[in-house]
Structure formats: C-alpha cells, structure tokens
C-alpha cells in the first residue's frame, strides 16, 4: 500500500518546491496510516518472542565454518532464516538445503547474519521468532560448510517445541551441540 505513494513522490521530484511539500505531507499521512493499521493488525497476527540460539562447534580443525540456522516444516521445507554465519555470499550455495529453500535471497537473511564461526568456538545469538512456529510441528535445521571439507545439510535437526527449549541437541558434522532458549 505504501509504494504507490512513494512512486508518485519520486517521479515528481523535479516539480516546484510547493508541490513537493504537499507530496511530503501526503506521504507522511500514508506512512502514519500504514503504521497505525500495522499496529492494530500485528498483535493478532504475529506474537513474536526473543529466542537465544547457542551453537557450540566441534574442534574439527579447519577454516571457519559457515552456518545457516533456519526453520522448516515437518517435511523439511524451508520456512524462515534465523541466522546465517559467514559473510561471503558466494559461498552460500554450500549451505545446500538452506540455499535451495531460501533461494539465497538477501531479504531472507537481512539483519540476521554475522561472521563465520571458528573450530571449537561457540556462536550465541538472539533472534525474533513468531509464536506460531512453536509447538506447531516446525523444526530448526542447521546446514554447515567448511572450506576444503565436506558440507553438511541438516548438521542439526530438532523439533521446535517449548518442551525442547534449553535441551542441547547433538550435531552430525561440525556442530557439537545446539540449544535454543525460548
């Protein structure tokens, strides 16, 4: 809804200052209206909470690991990215399942990415998670990859439930243990 307003404003930038000023007020009104509508709609739709993800890596001896922590449905279909560790997008395709699910679309991991994680190190991050994903048959998966070593899809795969909160799960390849605290 907000975009037509912006487009109008953008295309008429060359017009007189007075017109721009009017546009500006109009735009602010649109933004305000959208925010208000969002605030009314949000509580019912998406109650979110902060979840802490703790990923302890094994001492695998190798370069820093790239990790993708994401939510899938019960069939393993990608739903949402929680965190991506590793900054060079050209290596993301090695996080196979996540890369396929997310299409490596930057909007999928905007604001939830950081540095790669060294051998034996721990990654601890807090992210927003919608309540609707908890106790609803969804899972948390971690795909991992290390240069010159194997890549692992579903290094970790755990059901996302309130009962499982705080209980460490073991990984198959580079992840030693993974815990989520709701």
């Amino acid at each position: 809804m907000i975009f037509p307003g912006f487009q109008v404003a953008a295309s008429q930038q060359v017009q007189a200052l007075a017109t721009t000023f009017k546009q500006d007020i109009l735009m602010k009104k649109i933004i305000a209206a959208t925010c208000l509508a969002g605030a009314v709609a949000l509580p019912g739709l998406a109650q979110a909470r902060e979840v802490t993800l703790t990923t302890q890596l094994k001492d695998y001896g190798g370069n820093d690991a790239y990790l993708a922590i994401y939510v899938t449905d019960a069939n393993g279909q990608y739903q949402k990215t929680l965190w991506v560790a590793g900054k060079k997008a050209k290596y993301y395709r090695h996080l196979t399942d996540w890369a396929r699910g997310s299409g490596m679309n930057p909007s999928e991991f905007d604001g939830v990415s950081g540095a790669s994680v060294g051998s034996g190190r721990t990654l601890k991050v807090s992210v927003e998670l919608a309540d609707t994903l908890i106790d609803a048959g969804y899972q948390i998966h971690i795909d991992s990859a290390v240069e010159n070593k194997r890549e692992a899809r579903a290094d970790v795969s755990v059901p996302l439930t309130s009962k499982g909160s705080g209980k460490p799960a073991t990984g198959s390849t580079y992840v030693d243990s993974f815990t989520y605290d709701l």
């Binding site: 279909q77 579903a154 290094d155």
Partner: protein
Amino acid sequence: MLRQFHSLPGLIAALLVMILAISGAVLSVDPALERLHSTSTAAGQLNVGQLAGRVASHFPGVEQIQRTASGTVIVYYNQDGQSGTEKVDPLTGQGLAPYEPSAFTRWMKDLHRSLFMGTPGHGVSGAGALFMLILSVSGALLLARRLGGWRNLLRPLRGTFSQRWHAEVGRLAVLGLLLSSLSGLYMSATTFGLIADGSQSEPAFPTHISAGPALPVANLQALQATDLNDLRELVYPSPGNPQDVFALRTAQGDAHGPEPG
C-alpha cells in the same frame, strides 16, 4: 629512474615477496603429490552414472561425490546420524581411507593467502603480488637495456659473477614470476569481488519439479552421459524431501536433474 623503480620496491617488499614465493612453491607440489595417490581413468572408461551406482552400493547414506582436479574421488555420507568423508576407488566404489585434508597444507595456504591476518592479510598478499609484477617487469626492462635490446635477451651476460648472478637468475625466472604475479593478482581481485570468478553464472534451482517414481541413480541419463574425468561434484537430493533434485557440477558447468523420489 628505472633502476630505482626496480630496487626500491625490491627493498621494501623483499621479505613479503619471499614468503609468498616460498609458500607458493610448497603449495604447487600438492596437486602432483595428490595425483600420485589417486586412481586415474581414461576418457570413456567410466561415467558418473556407473560411479554413482557403485558408490551407492557401498555407501547407502551417500550425500555427495566430489572429484578433485587431480583425480581424487571423495564421498560424503551420513550413517546413523554421524557424517563421514571417505576417499574411494572410482573403479569399485569401495572406500579406501577416511579423507582428511592435510593440516600442513591448510596452514601453508593460510600463510600464502593472508599471512594469517584475515581480510587485511588478503590485501597484503595482493600487494605482494603487485610488487612481484612491478619487479618482474622493471627487471626485464633493465635486462633488455643491459643486453642492448629485446632481441639480444638470450645472449651471454658480461661481467664478474657478482655483477651478473642476479640478472642470470632473473632471466631464468622472469616468465614464471610474471605468471605467478598475474595469477596472484587475479585471485586477489576475485577475493575482493573486483572481477567475476565464474560462480555467478550458476543455473537457478528449478522452481517446478515433476515428481515421478524413483529411478536408480545409475540409470539417470545425464549422469551416464558425463565422463568421470569431467566430474567435479554430484550432490544427491536430501532423503525424505520429494521436492529435492540432483545437482551436477562438471568441468564445463552446472545443472540440476530429476530427483529419485
């Protein structure tokens, strides 16, 4: 002027260029060593479908087959929730030994690429390659001047040993040094994303997949049509995900193929 252009970078960068040259020389032996220990197959002897079939009979939980440029075939598999990596004999598909990349090579590579300093180190290494290029070019120009032109480049050098040894060694090495510095600069430029390294031209993952009954992997036509020597990587679909497909990476390019169901 030209002489200063040659000696000043030489003084400043001598240590850096030497570290890069020596570590590079050590690394250059690696592919040859690896080749010695791998089974080579003639073109047309074995296709990827045959290999995949043989591997599948020894590794039920196979996830990925990789073939290095020097011919080592590596299988990634998953068994009882633990993952493994094994070097296999391409002729039988049988595991030879767990595959573990050499820690020494990794250390040397890290030194060569970034002097253990991460991203700033990559920049320093790139600058080292640039210094090497400047030294090679200015050295070649000096040599040509000393011998009286490019046509006389191969003539014997005059003077005492101490006057000519640097020029003698330089003349022998200059082509190799030019190649090394240019390839180093190229790799540095790809690291910093200044030029494309080919990974951008990959096919998109197919959006529409027609699921049918599963074929045995050895019967997939695309795999039968690919010679083992062209294989880089074959990624199997995730077990239990009917929407997933095979991904094949060859010396010529990438493709996605039908899933086994």
